[in-house]
Amino acid sequence: MDSPRTAVSNPPTQPMASNLGPGDLIRRSATAELPPPTRKLTEVAKLIDVSKCIGCKACQSACVEWNDTHPAVGENVGAYENPHDLTENMFTLMRFTEWVNPETDSLEWLIRKDGCMHCADPGCLKACPAPGAIVQYSNGIVDFIHENCIGCGYCVKGCPFNIPRISKADHRSYKCTLCSDRVAVGQGPACAKACPTGAIVFGTKADMIKHAEGRITDLKSRGYANAGLYDPPGVGGTHVMYVLHHNDKPHIYANLPDDPKISPLVQGWKGVTKYVGIAAMSMMAVGSVIHGVFARPNRVAAEDEENAEKLVEGKPVPPPNHATTSEGR
């Protein structure tokens, strides 16, 4: 079979050194001078073939077990999504949409696995104020380093896909790590390993694009003329990609953004506002200092004190400058 495997073997039980380290970082939040990476890893990607997905939630289950999270037992609100949204305890979520295809008038149950897209240009990382709380490895994984996270929620605003969730318990931000700990020892992500139908596959990004092409050809042969790969250029491409039967309208898949980008507001905030703001505050401070140094202080003269004493004592003092004060009366 030529379909990619999600893992080369069962996870090892022998201690193994992790193979993702600081030398592999290509971006680190709030860090201007990152040492250049010591090597360039091949980019990886998780490909989610929505057309193969049966919505079984094995990915959710495997994710919870691997990451030792504790999603709450909620209630049914008349939908198959459970929990009802991503949470700090549920890094991935099947989203279900009952969509009637207007062209064929037939029902399609669109099921999309939501979760971090591992953008090449990650908005979360851009927004993050805490040095090293969000890192990007040269293989494309965007990972949250929770020890460094301060829980400000800026990543939430930075993310074009509405992914990170802040824990109310420990005030740290959580999302899919692409199982960086597994990838670091030669394993695919837990969700991809579990996926019963191979709707989730993992490998190099180049391989995944190739695999997607095969899937798209198959879908086109089954009548999905607009089948395509979702690898949005607005965020520089992603390391989690979708094969969609209707790639011309991603929004029908539970509001998957048609053309995601980091919001201009966030760009403005983290860009021009920061630079202009710092410049303005600096100029203000520096201007004050310069003025203070070079201009004479505004001192009260002895004459002023005398005038004040005269006034208090009822003696004549210079009259008010009527030309300028009369209006105020």
Binding site: A32, P131, I150, Y154, H291, E305, V312, P320
Partner: protein, 226 residues
């Protein structure tokens, strides 16, 4: 519009004359506000730009900084608005403020005698007062929207993005105003004691707020001789 004498303002004859400008409560409040603003500035700047992130060290950690900043904001908001209700009448704009502003060069170059006589506050002080008021409203409102721990979930992410941008811009402006305020207080010698001891000298009042002094004198609003 008649400018009222602020309660508590009074003249004490002597050499030099001293004038009560701020009572103890007002001064305490001012310093609470000032301290809050400084802490907010520090913690806010730490989260605003990575180059200042080290400032979180003052609060123990980034987590603490994130946690404490909004609460300080609440303190600032409350203390400032106590202040606001004390001072807003004295800060209402007047035509004289325009004249004063038009001659601001004379002020900066030390020719204050060319400026019109002023009441308790000059246009610069009023600008600071109203600027702070407006920005604090923007900051508290936007701050609530992005207060992750309690309120953020009630607002959409686009709204939060607007809020975080507004918060940043407002913060930059308020820091600028803060610098102006502090510098003006230092440059104008004799001012600081208004907020430390609560009094200014008669000369200071004569020089900077002559109308205010005249009014106090005219209303015989004099305290008992010491």
């Amino acid at each position: 519009m008649v400018e009222k004498i602020q309660p508590g303002d009074a003249i004490h004859p002597g050499k030099p004359v001293t004038v009560d400008r701020y009572g103890p409560a007002a001064r305490a409040n001012h310093w609470i506000t000032a301290l809050s603003l400084i802490l907010l500035g520090i913690s806010g700047l730490a989260l605003f730009t990575p180059s200042l992130y080290f400032l979180t060290g003052l609060f123990g950690s980034g987590q603490n900084t994130r946690a404490v900043h909004p609460w300080i904001g609440v303190v600032l908001f409350l203390s400032f608005f106590v202040f606001f209700f004390q001072l807003w009448r004295a800060n209402l704009p007047e035509r004289v403020d325009i004249v004063w502003l038009s001659k601001i060069r004379d002020l900066l170059s030390g020719h204050e005698e060319n400026l019109p006589e002023l009441g308790k506050y000059n246009a610069g002080q009023k600008f600071i007062f109203w600027g702070m008021t407006a920005l604090i409203l923007v900051l508290i409102a936007s701050g609530v929207v992005i207060w992750e721990q309690y309120f953020a979930e009630y607002f959409s992410i686009p709204a939060r993005r607007v809020a975080v941008l507004a918060h940043s811009v407002a913060a930059v402006l308020i820091i600028c105003i803060f610098i102006l305020h502090v510098y003006a207080a230092i440059w104008t010698r004799g001012t600081l004691q208004a907020m430390t001891r609560g009094t200014v000298t008669g000369g200071w009042a004569w020089r900077h707020h002559r109308k205010w002094l005249r009014e106090l004198a005219g209303q015989r609003k004099t305290g008992p001789a010491e």
